[in-house]
Symmetry: C2
Subunit: 492 residues, 2 copies
Amino acid sequence: VHRELKHIYEVQKEVSLLTSIGALLEWDQQTHMPALGVSRRAQQLRLVSKLVHGRLTSPSLWKSLRKARKMRLRGMDGAVVRELSKEVSKLRRVPTGLVEELSQETTLAHHAWKQARKSNSFTHFAPFLQRLVSLKRRHAQYLNRRLQPYDSLINEFEEGMTSSKYNRLFSFLQKELRYILDSVKGSRLYRRQRPLRIRVDKAHQRLVTEHIAGRMAVTPDRVSVDVSAHPFSISIGQQDVRITTRYTNALDSLSNTVHESGHALYELGLPTRYIHTVLHNAPSYGLHESQSRFWENMVAASQHFWKGYARHFNRLAGIHHSWRQYYRGINLVKPTFIRAEADEVTYNLHVILRFEIERELMNGRLRVRELPQVWNERFHELTGLRVRSDNNGCLQDTHWAGAAFGYFPSYCVGTVYASQLYARLLKSMPEAEKLVQKLEFKPIIGWLGRKVHSKGNTMLADDIIRKTCGEGLNPRVFISYLREKYGELYGF
Amino acid sequence: VHRELKHIYEVQKEVSLLTSIGALLEWDQQTHMPALGVSRRAQQLRLVSKLVHGRLTSPSLWKSLRKARKMRLRGMDGAVVRELSKEVSKLRRVPTGLVEELSQETTLAHHAWKQARKSNSFTHFAPFLQRLVSLKRRHAQYLNRRLQPYDSLINEFEEGMTSSKYNRLFSFLQKELRYILDSVKGSRLYRRQRPLRIRVDKAHQRLVTEHIAGRMAVTPDRVSVDVSAHPFSISIGQQDVRITTRYTNALDSLSNTVHESGHALYELGLPTRYIHTVLHNAPSYGLHESQSRFWENMVAASQHFWKGYARHFNRLAGIHHSWRQYYRGINLVKPTFIRAEADEVTYNLHVILRFEIERELMNGRLRVRELPQVWNERFHELTGLRVRSDNNGCLQDTHWAGAAFGYFPSYCVGTVYASQLYARLLKSMPEAEKLVQKLEFKPIIGWLGRKVHSKGNTMLADDIIRKTCGEGLNPRVFISYLREKYGELYGF
């Protein structure tokens, strides 16, 4: 066994190093790469993927894993063998030809999506999307023959989730969110509300970014902050995480920075002893997102935060507003066409739309060419807004061009988990709101570290939440939070 | 043969992609990597080296090369087989254990060198340097048993050069440079001269950098400009080159930018048809350096340049000086302890010192512990300055900590080549000085492209120069240039 385990750990280390090299190539592509570098970059990324795939699907690794499984190991070794076997057996089930075709088609589709956005027309993108839908339906069958295609894909992002669980989640949320939205819309304040317009130049926004990241212990010695068109975070090493933001408006860049810093804290908090193994990971996209939402929504969009932060924000940005102005400004509810710009109340209505559409695409009940019409009708039902341009509708997100069907619901899972974790935190650490107001985040970071980050990929996301909160995914907690917060804000 | 060549080109492509990935890892380490990322970075770089080494030394590649050599191919295929065989046979001669030991010892030595600089004491660094000297002496023997160790190492940087050629070069230069320096020092102007002190903030220095790089066709779509402690340039892809500068003072950052842009133009000018092969390279470090020196010294430190550029510089930097003030300022001759800060006249005196010391270290005639004393005595003879601190003396450069013995003379070769190329340019393009004054660099870039860049690694550096200039390395051209320029500047 010793020899088999040694081999397993060696392969994992090489895979982990190669994967982190791939992450650097991607980070660079979004931040500093000269535009003309793109074709060489595609070759570099393809080579890294090929090397990773080759190592993970090698017969010798599979042999070692098979022998190791028979030993029924416990503890870390047992978890490594279990999780790695899952991953490898999936990779071995999917034919290499399909993997390559998918990789090629997503590159083409991404390009076509960009072109389609330039002409604001879905028609150009449709045939590419159609091919991705077919390929992913085949892919799903290889992943798990016994499941509906969409269920197989969900499982890649949220292990243990199913479309029927999501159905229940989303029909509950749709009803409740619509109720809250209607209450907001019916309020006197809603009709009078104006967005908070503040003009802050990039240099001052950068000061805010550095300040808030520093308060969250996201410091330059382990996290770099760069600028990219779409903010993201990526881990290059245990002590080397990259986040990006954009300097469009000061409240937005603050939210982005806090959101990505939440992701960064998760990466930095993964246990060192799991390094270079399959356990040095979050167990799901939703749980990762819960950490960014926790900081962005529960903390940095709270009253307590703004009572404490307003003066720093004013000083750093060189402006003057009251904490209440910021608090109202950052929590303004107003239906919008763009998911990424949506407020807390309407955000998940956007997710519901995408969930319904991709489920039907994957299960063969919706044709690609019908997509814009269905999108626009359904969007109107959900938000009351009429989509008049594909760029504001079904072309707004890049996920489908990347064949990431099944990903959107994880955003919702993350939001719900975040509210559950925050509710639990307030019970175990009654002074948490005061700490937020004082911007003393260390005890909260420590708590999240113990309850979430330190588990690595040894348990399902829902089990991590259950262990901490006493129950798995529960959207009622999220709804109570919204009702209380927005009831107070809009007086209903 | 078709099959063998196909294999050879495939391996080269993978090696070229891996090498460019390694280049990105290094660039990132010097520019954006959080400090704590360093240990993972070392692992990533080690893995990439291992993969490259494995591919180049694989028996199947060697077999293909052997078969291909027998076919006596011509043209590009012939050159590829010849150059790649040279490289591979060298790699195969050096035991892997020695390569690994060297890699490990240079990492340790680099760290020790940094520590030694903190305490300003060579003693701490000495044992590490001693080990590197021994390892490199062994390494040299594997490279070529018939040569003196130092000659083998020189050949790694300047193929075709020998220490006896360098001896002749440097004894000529030492005499001539001392004569010019003495003439400068004896002039009335020298005694009255003051450095040009201009204060320009970083934002304005950045404007100058972008402007001059743009004029040199070093544009953001194919070259990124970042900041690093030591300016450098590195190629990630045919259309993706990175340069760095530093914003310490405006003339310095201009020179750095122009220097690194010269390197970038070489990389961008390598022939596309040689991409992913061993021919897509400069044939020597000296020839690469000739391109940076050409732009830094011959162009951007010339009268004509400043006659044209002063008004741009004033406008961009928000200051007001005459072209003559800049021209004098950038060409101020004054012996200094630090090579990297030296003027054109004294620069190569620094190189001579390093050449003599490393030759004697390598050939066993100088002991490491005697180094500071020898350095200080010899430096005094060469420049008249007395070194009172190791940081200003034998600890100033990082090259020896990287085991790059034999590299320094290439700086001198580059300077001499640059003067030869410029003299030749003035003959073939009599309007060149006017073009420089008008900042119209395109015809000059085109000329360098045809004469130098487009050759790739198909000829020895000295043959490229001979083909263009009618003769190989000739320091007399450099000395005439210096005499004329500094005679005019200092009135002797």
